[in-house]
């Protein structure tokens, strides 16, 4: 009886400890984001107040209104940045996924010489740090005159994304049983038809998540963009964040507002894709 009671007590204590631990962990994870959103809605006076104002006294969308109201009125060309970001990210994602599909299919379906070496080689091109990559690219682009153009950025981002899309898509094609495509071919499909009508639809959720992952990489990239862009012609949002910094001061409220604008598309897309993403990264691990 006594033993039972103490066991029950330990169990309950463990449950409570687990809940508390979970709550604290989630708080730590979310707090910085919440703080950014909150700060974007508060007047600068409150952000700078000493002693700090913990409970917001007044909330307003002034920062967002100022941001979109154009240059000279406390705004930055955020619409231009947004458009650049969107064009560059979407175009390079589409191209990278098309190339990644071809490559991923090759790795998943064919056996050829030097396959694993080639795979590792592909991955290694991704490890070159953005800043190290930007030096020769800057030089080459300057010679070709494609600095500060959409084309230059798209080209760089396609190369940046190919290794990873190939890895992901390879994993998803491996999950599709080979027999299905073979059965379709026996029934009279060409290999091309078998691919589009059988294998592609089955791997589609995975390919979609590879696309979103590639999109997010472009959307968030900074090291390359900061060197290869110069003006509103091609500056992307991450580089645009720097517009809120001056030599010694930073407009925290404006920056927080831009951060929120940047994060919302990323947030939505990641939420849609989360389940498939993990599946693609790990599918090779257990089943081989």
């Amino acid at each position: 009886m006594d033993e039972n009671a103490s066991a029950r007590l330990t169990r309950r204590a463990l449950t409570v400890a687990h809940r508390v631990g979970l709550f604290l962990a989630m708080l730590l994870i979310c707090l910085p984001g919440i703080w950014i959103v909150l700060s974007s809605l508060r007047p600068t006076v409150e952000i700078m107040a000493k002693p700090p104002v913990w409970v917001p006294q007044q909330l307003s969308f002034d920062a967002y209104i100022a941001m979109f109201s154009g240059i000279g009125k406390g705004g930055i060309p955020v619409l231009d940045y947004f458009r650049n970001s969107l064009i560059i990210s979407v175009t390079s994602t589409v191209i990278a996924v098309a190339i990644g599909m071809a490559g991923g299919y090759a790795f998943a379906r064919y056996r050829f010489r030097g396959k694993s070496g080639m795979f590792l080689g592909l991955m290694l091109t991704r490890t070159v740090p953005g800043i190290a990559m930007s030096l020769p690219l800057f030089f080459v682009y300057a010679r070709l005159g494609i600095i500060d153009t959409h084309f230059g950025m798209i080209l760089a981002y396609v190369a940046l994304n190919i290794p990873f899309t190939i890895w992901l898509i390879d994993g998803f094609f491996r999950q599709v049983p080979k027999d299905l495509a073979e059965a379709a071919q026996i029934d009279g499909c060409t290999r091309w038809q078998a691919f589009w009508q059988v294998e592609f639809p089955l791997a589609r959720p995975g390919i979609a998540s590879a696309a979103i992952f590639a999109f997010l990489t472009c959307w968030n990239e900074f090291a390359l963009a900061s060197q290869l862009t110069r003006s509103v012609n091609s500056k992307t949002l991450p580089v645009g964040l720097l517009d809120y910094t001056a030599e010694f001061t930073i407009d925290w409220r404006g920056m927080c507002a831009l951060a929120v604008v940047m994060i919302i598309p990323a947030l939505t897309l990641t939420y849609i894709v989360q389940k498939h993403l993990v599946g693609g990264l790990t599918s090779g691990a257990v089943k081989g």
Binding site: G21, L22, A25, M26, L28, I29, C30, P32, G33, W35, I47, K50, P51, P52, W54, I99, G103, A106, Y110, L122, M123, L124, T127, V128, P129, G130, I131, A132, M133, L135, P136, L137, F139, V140, L155, A156, V158, A159, I162, P163, I166, L216, W219, N220, F222, A223, P238, W252, A259, M262, A266, T270, Q274, G279, L281, T282, A285, V286, K287, G288
Partner: protein, 298 residues
């Protein structure tokens, strides 16, 4: 070349190779060449002067470079290990939760959506000595009266950078390890419990070997872009105070663009590339070994 017909996989991989050759390989060869010249952006004619290994010699004899190199390795080691441990803990906490796992999983991925540069600004804001959340909280709780100079004192700045880095990347580990935990069959754990294993033994000898490949996937993915830390450091301290948080990557950026000494910067960049490759190959091999251990075919 009569009747030469390239095989299908080669054709399929061709576009990838072409793009990567154009954007990665050729520029890298160019930068390899220019690392043997005294090339300055302001004086293009210096591009054709070969000076042998002088850039490399001057780097290797420069203590600032070695400090930056050591600091980079230190940051990576500390951050990766912390991320691994915290990620494991977080994954196990979430796996134990009986309700609301979907929501928890989404919350867990929250930091993954933040651009590294955003992480940098966010933590620069929070660690601001005057108006930052951290100091405000510490003062409100009465823990300290002083404004702790988080980003101004060198050790604190390094700590702050590590915290930002860990915050932004722990979720990659957590989400992948959680995937491993969820995919794991339950029978071995029950068998171990019946055989009288303590919870620790069950974890160490049953759960961990199974989850390890997933941890190495996370490590491999992370090592693919360890240089993300560049964005964070660039924003938070820009290598300051007085170069005390200078990493290899910020040093390369400064030498190349502020000092315009491209040749020298390219020589440094090669060290950072080698470092990244070393990390990736190491974890890639570990991944293959871990896969072999749980009997998966490669």
């Amino acid at each position: 070349m009569k009747g030469f017909k390239p095989s299908a996989p080669i054709l399929l991989l061709l576009p990838a190779f072409v793009v990567l050759a154009a954007v990665v390989l050729v520029p890298l060869l160019l930068s390899l060449y220019s690392s043997f010249t005294p090339f300055r952006l302001t004086r293009p004619e210096t591009f054709f002067v070969l000076i042998g290994f002088r850039n490399y010699v001057s780097i290797l004899s420069n203590p600032d470079f070695w400090y930056a190199f050591g600091r980079t390795v230190l940051l990576l080691t500390v951050a990766l290990n912390l991320e691994m441990l915290l990620g494991l803990g977080l994954a196990m906490l979430v796996e134990k939760a009986t309700r609301g796992q979907r929501i928890l999983r989404t919350l867990m991925m929250f930091p993954m959506m933040f651009s590294p540069i955003l992480v940098g600004f966010q933590f620069k804001f929070m660690f601001n000595d005057n108006i930052g959340l951290v100091n405000n909280a510490l003062q409100s709780f009465g823990i300290t009266q002083d404004a702790i100079p988080w980003l101004i004192e060198s050790h604190l700045a390094f700590t702050a950078i590590t915290i930002a880095e860990v915050w932004s990347s722990t979720s990659i580990f957590a989400i992948l390890i959680l995937a491993g935990l969820l995919a794991m069959p339950k029978e071995p754990i029950e068998a171990a419990r019946v055989d009288g294993c303590t919870p620790w033994q069950t974890f160490r000898y049953v759960t961990w070997p199974f989850v390890m490949p997933f941890a190495y996937i996370a490590m491999t993915i992370r090592s693919l872009d360890v240089a993300r830390a560049y964005d964070i450091v660039k924003i938070m301290t820009d290598g300051g105070p007085a170069g005390r948080t200078e990493l290899l990557w910020t040093l390369v950026g400064r030498t190349a663009y502020s000092d315009a000494r491209m040749g020298l910067a390219n020589a440094m960049a090669y060290f950072s590339i080698l470092l990244s490759i070393a990390f990736t190959v190491y974890f890639y091999n570990k991944l293959a070994a871990a896969r072999a251990q749980i009997g998966a075919e490669w």
